[in-house]
């Protein structure tokens, strides 16, 4: 974190996300960055391209709020509850473009960007109908073995929004539990904005450097946002509010319903938001 440091949630988003940006959302079921994502909605961001492997209801909410012009994904839905209703309506209405990969090929796209190579060869997207609906997908012949492989192109998001357990004031980010594609997606991005449950002393981080998943020099902004991944969960802090996901499935079936959900859970200040969470029931720490 070269010059910036600790920021408010509002500043982190205002200073680092522009209209038209390609935005990586972290969180593979675990530590989905709802607080940062909801701030995109409140700040009225527009024309975003949202990308990640398995996109859960946060992506659907950004679509419902009109922030998104395209989605680049491997999976999009409401985990074990159902489909992404706002996404479904948006593609039926032609208001959102989409580019559809698979979870592994999305990880490879981000990995290629994180490693600074234009593509990575892979043994997927060679069969089935998936390759045919990806514009411009190429194959390569391995110069050593002659094997034909898919050339999975690098995807370098403008900014990654992720949530983690903790960071220090310098910007070192520590995360544990399910990582999924969160770290590779962050490292692939030009800017990295992180919300954490807690900002801790440098000495805490230095006592367990193996837990640091993103070193400070890559991190653009850190903000402290307890419960910042609710209604998903954070290992060691709180568990997932499954009922919230089920309720979202019900409400998001109509435009009116999803707008009511956003009014209740997004267009509110942080204290009101926190007061609606059953913290006693969900806390695991």
């Amino acid at each position: 974190m070269a010059s910036t440091s600790r920021r408010s949630l509002e500043h982190s988003v205002a200073e680092n996300v522009g209209d038209g940006d390609t935005v990586f959302l972290g969180g593979f079921g675990h530590a989905v960055p709802f607080a940062l994502g909801h701030e995109l909605i409140r700040a009225g961001k527009r024309e975003l391209s949202v990308c990640r492997s398995g996109a859960d209801i946060l992506a659907d909410q950004l679509i419902a709020a009109g922030c998104v012009s395209s989605v680049i994904f491997g999976w999009i839905g409401n985990p074990d509850v159902g489909i992404a209703h706002a996404f479904r309506r948006a593609i039926a209405d032609g208001t959102v473009a989409w580019e559809e990969w698979t979870n592994w090929s999305m990880v490879l796209r981000l990995q290629a960007a994180a490693w600074g190579v234009p593509y990575l060869p892979a043994k997927v997207l060679l069969a089935g109908d998936g390759p045919g609906v990806i514009d411009g997908l190429q194959r390569v012949t391995c110069p050593y073995t002659g094997e034909e492989l898919a050339a999975i192109p690098a995807l370098e998001p403008d900014v990654a929004l992720i949530h983690a357990q903790r960071a220090d004031e310098r910007g070192n980010v520590q995360m544990w539990g399910v990582i999924g594609d969160t770290v590779v997606g962050a490292l692939a991005s030009k800017r990295i904005v992180v919300s954490v449950e807690e900002i801790v002393a440098d000495s805490v981080v230095d006592s367990s450097p193996n837990l640091t998943v993103i070193p400070a020099h890559r991190v653009t902004a850190v903000c402290e946002v307890p419960w910042g991944a609710y209604p998903s969960y954070v290992e060691g802090a709180y568990t997932r509010d499954d009922d919230h996901y089920i309720e979202y499935d019900r409400r998001s079936r109509t435009d009116e319903g999803v707008q009511e959900h956003l009014d209740r859970w997004v267009n509110v200040d942080r204290d009101t938001y926190l007061s609606m969470i059953d913290q006693r029931q969900l806390a695991t720490a």
Binding site: G74, D80, I83, T102, L125, G128, E148, I179, R240
Partner: protein
């Protein structure tokens, strides 16, 4: 062996699928019935079975059924939490023996669809997409498919091949690595893929060749000798009840 016949659909499916998993195998597991099948195998006859979820969890023995591959219960029961690259890298390197998948549609060649019902660009129903399903079906040693008996979901040709099975010629598609789909397990029957096409191979208790394929949109070939599947045992039922009752 005490058998019971009052099992429900999920239990008939899960116990038959569980018996196809061998001790010591590494098994890529999806959410729902695939998880119940793998957990049943692990508790009944395959204690050294390694359950692997795409979120990066290895060795998972969750106390409650995970809602998603990134659920708290996947993480809390795991003995190794890597990331997606660990799991899919292992898969691509050919180190994962078997996977249990499900889908919205399956066809007579074992192709799976979880992408769209109807045309791709203007679908009747837009579904969730591949997730890891395409990657797993392309790369794993062999695939077991679990499905409810729902004729709308058994079709001659899926609307979209999300996860490749066999070509219409019976060949494995170029670019896929393992043996492909080896069985579809339903509450009524088990189907295999000799020469790459779905055949009725075994019947669950209470079913015959007619009810096993009732409503399917094509004439399903029947193996010369159709086996009878033992209903879930009392031990299997006791284990499955932890997640199904």
């Amino acid at each position: 062996m005490t058998s019971v016949t009052h099992a429900n659909d999920v239990e008939f499916t899960s116990s038959a699928a569980a018996r196809m998993l061998r001790d010591g195998e590494a098994c890529f597991v999806g959410i729902g019935t695939p998880s119940i099948a793998a957990l049943t195998a692990k508790h009944v006859h395959a204690p050294e079975l390694t359950l692997i979820y795409e979120s990066g969890a290895y060795g998972t023995v969750p106390s409650r059924l995970p809602m998603s591959t990134g659920s708290p219960s996947v993480a809390s029961g795991a003995s190794c939490l890597g990331d997606c690259s660990l799991v899919f890298g292992d898969l691509q390197a050919g180190r994962i023996d078997v996977a249990i998948l499900s889908a919205a549609q399956v066809d007579r060649f074992g192709n799976l669809n979880s992408t769209v019902i109807g045309p791709y660009r203007s679908p009747k129903v837009r579904l969730v997409g591949s997730g890891g399903a395409h990657d797993i079906a392309s790369l794993v040693g062999r695939t077991l498919i679990v499905m409810p008996h729902d004729p709308r979901r058994f079709v001659e040709r899926v609307d979209f091949v999300t996860a490749p099975g066999f070509e219409q010629t019976g060949d494995r598609p170029i670019g896929t690595r393992g043996r492909g789909p080896v069985a579809i397990i339903t509450p009524r029957a088990v189907f295999g893929f000799p020469e790459g096409e779905l055949h009725l191979e075994a019947l669950q208790a209470g079913h015959d060749a007619v009810s096993a394929t009732e409503g399917f949109g094509w004439e399903v070939p029947v193996a010369n000798r159709v086996e009878r599947i033992e209903p879930p045992t009392a031990e299997e039922m006791e284990i499955m009840a932890r997640w199904t009752r």
